[in-house]
Symmetry: C2
């Protein structure tokens, strides 16, 4: 339902815009902010003076760059690190990690923990998460008044409102309302995010030139995941986090996937699938629960050495990814791709077959111009994404309160 703009929304939105401009630009002057937002200098002056008084921004006296121009020097505005803090929790296969981040985005505390997620009962899994959060919150060394927000990321499917984990390969448990659980336990607003979406968010902050309005982040790990940004917004499904690239159908009735179905892209390109093919096992062979990163790297090394079943396994992975991307490109058109995760380190083995496959699809006409980046380590990306997600929430919902979640929807027609 479309909703009008009230008078007081105006200030709130423009406040949010100023904060966001500072977060993006680092240390912009008031004049720069006025230029990027299109608001008048008077308005920016008024808003930033408010924000400084409230302790959200601070003037960075250190005019490092010796002013080359004459005239009154610009004074940079920066986020006040002590204005708030957020907490990120990343839950992946057999691994739980948490970090406390200050308002400026610096990690100020962290803790990591190995645990056996696959066999853990429900209560224990939840208990481990709340316990690790509690330890960070109650840490006497941490001189943070309070945590404004918790962002939790998990491998798997979450709901589109970022409240619950619906399904995850790291545990047989389903439908855990992590956001509600953490909020109930600690009284801090929380969200439950999809890991690949957080990768995409992080890439956008890391390299806004390359990853701006439209790009694809694909996780090549035990499973295949995707985070998708279209028209500058994170793409989600109608009910869930969506974007389950790994479960698009590559070959109807084909190889057995970890999800129990057949012919998914993941059943050819996931670590377990590459492993299965490298060992020349049947396509019907039950997927193994886990292949260590070291084993995968060894596999890639063998594939590079000689033209054997290992190389063929990577070729098939590339083919599946290529046809999958081709179908995806038929829907969204080609866009820059970032390959993330341990098998991104073997992208040299994957790329030829991948490009050959794409060339046979709707993406084909641009197949040469599609560029792939690789980043073998997904965990730092996921954590960064969570941090930015949580901080942006603080920027917009806490420091520019009352703003409507969605600007009045425009009509389709």
């Amino acid at each position: 339902m479309s909703v009008g703009i009230r008078h007081d929304d105006l200030r709130r939105r423009n406040r949010a815009m100023v904060i966001s401009a500072v977060r993006r630009a680092g240390q912009p002057s008031r004049t720069e902010i006025a230029a990027t937002t299109g608001l008048s200098h008077s308005t920016i002056s008024a808003i930033s003076s408010d924000l400084i008084q409230e302790g959200i921004l601070s003037e960075s006296k250190a005019s490092e760059a010796v002013s080359l121009k004459r005239g009154r020097p610009q004074v940079g505005l920066a986020l006040n690190p002590e204005a708030a803090a957020v907490l990120t929790v990343v839950l992946s296969l057999n691994f739980l990690s948490v970090a406390v981040i200050d308002y400026a985005g610096q990690v100020i505390a962290e803790e990591q923990r190995r645990l056996d997620t696959l066999t853990m009962p429900r209560d224990e899994l939840i208990g481990e998460c709340t316990a690790i959060v509690r330890r960070r919150l109650e840490d006497p060394d941490l001189d943070v008044q309070s945590i404004a927000r918790i962002a939790l990321a998990i491998q798997g499917i979450t709901d589109s409102h970022a409240r619950a984990m619906l399904w995850s390969p790291i545990t047989p448990q389903t439908n855990i309302a992590f956001a509600d659980i953490l909020e109930g336990e600690f009284g801090i607003p929380a969200t439950m995010e999809n890991d690949c979406n957080m990768m995409a968010v992080a890439l956008r902050w890391r390299d806004p030139d390359r990853y701006r309005d439209d790009f694809i982040a694909i996780l090549l790990s035990h499973g295949i995941g995707m985070g998708l940004v279209l028209k500058g917004e994170l793409f989600t499904g109608t009910h869930s986090s969506g974007g389950e690239f790994g479960h698009m159908i590559h070959r109807p009735g084909g190889a057995l996937c970890r999800c129990g179905r057949r012919g998914c892209v993941e059943a050819y390109a996931g670590n377990y699938a590459i492993w299965r093919n490298a060992r020349q096992l049947s396509e019907n062979a039950e997927p193994v629960a886990d292949v260590s990163d070291a084993d995968m790297r060894a596999l890639a090394a063998r594939a590079r050495e000689a033209d054997g079943p290992e190389r063929e396994a990577y070729r098939r992975a590339g083919e599946a990814l290529g046809f999958g991307l081709g179908s995806l490109f038929a829907l969204i058109d080609p866009a820059p791709v970032a390959m993330v995760g341990v098998s991104a380190g073997a992208f040299d083995l994957i790329e030829p077959a991948l490009r050959e496959a794409i060339a046979q699809t709707a993406g084909g006409q641009h197949s040469g111009s599609i560029s792939f980046d690789t980043e073998p380590n997904e965990l730092p990306l996921i954590r960064e994404g969570c941090a930015m997600r949580a901080l942006s929430f603080v920027d917009q919902e806490i420091f520019a309160p009352g703003i409507q979640a969605k600007p009045g929807k425009k009509d389709v027609a």
Copy 2:
């Protein structure tokens, strides 16, 4: 780049919102508008009084429903049909049709014309389009001061800014900047829309209960097209109209598609593919240029009569559509589907295999709850969609001028 909200945007946006509320609701009272927009009665009163004075809205004295409540009766606001007029042009295989629509959405003039689009040279094709528009504009019977907007729809791929046709199956020509051509010729703002997108727009207006925020319109015709609405907005690709569902890959290296590639969904489910399979021709056989609707209906009749190659052809079409939808659902989650076009009339033959295929995919868990509607006639839908598209432009860009195209983009993180 995010941009601040200026003070005068406020009025403009709220004006647009009031107009849009009236277009959607038919004849809402000021009180109803205040309720749906969340704005105060005073504001609605001021804005609607402006709009009436400007001749955009009118009070519909005819308080038809004899007021059952006591108190001052509500007075409905309606769009003034004479406030503006728009023109729609629909270009499909061998067929060109144009209509003039008043501001309230009623058709006030139309013209249709058969032509041989497949063999026509570029200039002639463009010439036919401008000529038919010119005839409507210069029609002395038409007592319309001026046309405020032209919306042109074509089967095929358009660019994401709705300016040009990039590729179309109805002509060998490519990259025709129809929007610029029409604007140059007549000095009237114009857009070049994808036909399936217009179907989706029309469905949303026809049945907003079923087709609201997330749904899929699939054209089952000579080719396979799709219009997709996600989160209340029309989905487009990063460069083109996108959503080329028909060219997702069903079987790598499979049947020959009209697009020259292999294994596309369309190569199994397009009319020419059903025709090819029904005749038991090779999958490599060159697609025929056109199959008449009558021939397709006869084919469906034979398939219903006996279990022969015709029935098998529809089964294969269903299978391809099902696996395609399965892959689509992996990305966007299941959503209501409208099947449009001549082969939607044979959906009884398609549905069983389609559902069986979906059940084997990520959409499987909800396969029972996915509902399909059918609408065998795409042309009226496309025209209606164009009309609503053009009228919405007038609502927002002309009668609420200066509004920024996009509200300041929210950050991904």
